[in-house]
Symmetry: C2
Subunit: 180 residues, 2 copies
């Protein structure tokens, strides 16, 4: 039995923490209202010690039924999944779950703005890929297509996300240019 303590939320989540920071900046400067959805957890047992906070003593991670982030920008519903990979040439589709894909389809169908933010850790670059293009790759894997989205395709179908000091993953810039 291995135990891990402290900083659980931080392990390898560079992209997520940069997006969270960016969203906080967007919120504080009143540009957009976007939040990360909390990690879904099935709570089984809770202790209520006297005079201190309730402690969850047994709980399990649940599969997320949606994407990581959603919110509101210029009156539009936006929704996205953040993925980072150490792979240098493609994003493996195994990183994404069917639930998330179903959610993306629903969002598109109901006229929301849906996309992925994909970080290639080696290159240190992030791309915004519209979910429509991602779904083409996803569907194609079942009729003999590849099990990953090549970086080249992400570069041609997607958009490099600029970095700025305060908005480290400044994806609203891309939204302005592509969707709005």
């Amino acid at each position: 039995l291995k135990q891990r303590k402290t900083n659980f939320g931080k392990r390898g989540m560079t992209l997520e923490s940069e997006i969270n920071e960016t969203n906080l900046y967007y919120l504080e400067t009143n540009r957009a209202v976007v939040h990360k959805k909390p990690t879904p957890v099935q709570i089984v047992q809770v202790d209520y010690p006297k005079r201190s906070a309730a402690v969850i003593r047994e709980a399990y991670f649940k599969q997320a039924s949606t994407t990581d982030y959603n919110g509101l920008y210029k009156g539009k519903y936006i929704d996205f999944e953040a993925k980072e990979t150490r792979n240098r040439t493609s994003l493996p589709l195994a990183n994404i779950h069917q639930h998330q894909v179903d959610h993306m389809k629903s969002v598109i169908e109901h006229d929301g703005i849906c996309f992925l933010i994909i970080r290639f850790n080696h290159q240190g670059e992030s791309y915004l890929l519209p979910a429509e293009h991602f779904l083409d790759f996803w569907n194609h894997q079942y009729d003999g297509g590849r099990k990953s989205v090549p970086l080249e395709s992400i570069q041609s179908k997607g958009y490099k996300i600029p970095f700025s000091l305060q908005a480290k993953v400044d994806y609203l810039k891309v939204l302005d240019q592509v969707y709005l």
Copy 2:
């Protein structure tokens, strides 16, 4: 030290579970994409037993920074908080946190549709109250106003939500009538 086991998520959450069911029905019939945000939890310690799922062994409830639900309906961003009360004549404002109020203000400012669903348990009736009206009550409490929203005001400024067998809290009906 008290311990509670099982059904943690269910304690007294009639309204939430009915809304969750309703949302599932909306999703399955392709009418709207609305999800409850998971309860935010600060995870401190996780065990990784061999050959079985990771177990969270120490975690704490965090204050939610937003409302309970958000999603997409007819291309519009919608966002709401669900509250039920046993009080027969008003909804106590102490039931709502400043964070949630700030979030409602942001949503309105960015042209989202924001409201509360308020259930009076005794009467068994639910109302949709547009966040704009709720905020009037909220702000007024600081200049000598009451610390609760009277049922009468909820009835006059809000809308009774119809019940149907499949959509137990059929709030889209009200949205159609009021916002869309």
